[in-house]
Point group: C2
Chain length 235, copies 2
């Protein structure tokens, strides 16, 4: 076909492979996770449709997908609202995330290669260096990269999708600043314990180290006592 001509990676090409509602989905997801809108904020169909230059149909379809993924709440005859994550919800999500991340490490321990191990060690070193200079804004992305590298290397895309979904939902729990807040030196010590278990090819130890690490992260976040705590009725 036109393997020689592909000068348009822009919107036209995207529209060929993905339907409109999928594009709208990604855009609204960006808006939600961007954090500019407050929690419990209303998502106006007409306003969003006009903003993207489409009709309300694709927007409504995107809403349903966002609802299925737990990012928005649908109230009949009222519309779509950014999902509100209570403290109780956040605890639940952290516990599942601990189990999923632990499972990723367990699976990775059975198949990790030298290259991946080297990359993880390199990240450890960089995080240690940044921790010394106490540069929080530099530590944060490295921390994410470390966890993502593990999840993406465990050879299970289903697990990876679930993991990143959980992380997205936690983003809705406005309690950041705490992730960096309490002691990230100890955090990196926990990272080292994980990598050591991976290096030892010890699945059980890898799970335990990873599970404990996320649980400590939960404690660090919850300690600060931020976020909404009201508990709406279950669906």
């Amino acid at each position: 076909m036109n393997s020689n001509t592909e000068p348009l990676p822009s919107e036209l090409e995207v529209l060929r492979s993905s339907s409109m509602s999928q594009v709208i989905y990604k855009e609204i997801e960006k808006i939600i996770l961007g954090g500019t809108l407050g929690p419990d904020e209303k998502l106006n169909e007409k306003a969003l449709a006009e903003r993207f230059g489409v009709s309300r149909g694709p927007v409504r379809e995107a809403f349903q997908a966002l609802h299925a993924r737990g990012l928005v709440e649908m109230i009949p005859n009222r519309g779509a609202f950014i999902q509100r994550i209570t403290k109780h919800d956040a605890v639940e999500i952290y516990d599942v995330r601990a189990g999923v991340f632990g499972t990723a490490c367990r699976l990775l321990a059975e198949r990790i290669d030298k290259a991946t191990l080297a990359e993880l060690n390199a990240l450890l070193a960089r995080m240690d260096a940044v921790a010394l200079s106490r540069d929080l804004d530099s530590y944060y992305p490295l921390n994410i990269e470390f966890h993502s590298k593990i999840v993406n290397s465990c050879g299970n895309s289903t697990l990876a999708n679930i993991y990143f979904d959980l992380v997205s939902r936690l983003h809705l729990f406005r309690a950041r600043g705490l992730v960096h807040g309490g002691g990230f030196e100890s955090s990196n010590a926990e990272h080292r314990a994980i990598v050591k278990a991976l290096d030892d090819r010890d699945p059980a130890a890898a799970f335990e180290a990873a599970y404990a690490h996320v649980q400590r992260g939960k404690s660090r976040v919850m300690m600060s006592g931020e976020g909404p705590q009201s508990k709406p009725s279950a669906t």
Copy 2:
């Protein structure tokens, strides 16, 4: 086919509390998981809309939600198809399910009460009895009830939702008969190991027992070599 158009049984009142697309979602989900349709089967918008007596709008919204949950595949300008689960996909799902179910047991071990323990023991006894009579059709629902009881008792609805989603997706992998196929006496022995760990309030042991149990279930299913094995391009 069905000249008597009454596919929605008295659930018109549900429409008050839930939107139409949510009802359609549940109906299509039932159709998919019912198993009457083969894998990779096309879901016709117009046909489904007429079957439910609505227009195509709500049906398309339901499709998006089903797609987000991994039950249908959306192909641009082609429509919605029942998601095809390859053997490779099934392995991934089993591994995640093992980790999630293990996490449920781990959490439950920290909070289980006498009543729940008694219920689980009662189920164990019933499954043993059924195993003696080799009544597979009676064993299967008890097996499901056992796992569901654990997941629903661990006090984490987020985890429960993810778990049942994974189970649903595994249903798309047409390889049943195998779940019962190879030795369900050993399966119940594994159940006993889980309950023992729960009784001991030993989280780590509970996880290991549960994880190993699902992994053995995976082996039993995969051993039979059924299911589609073609591997479409990764997303």
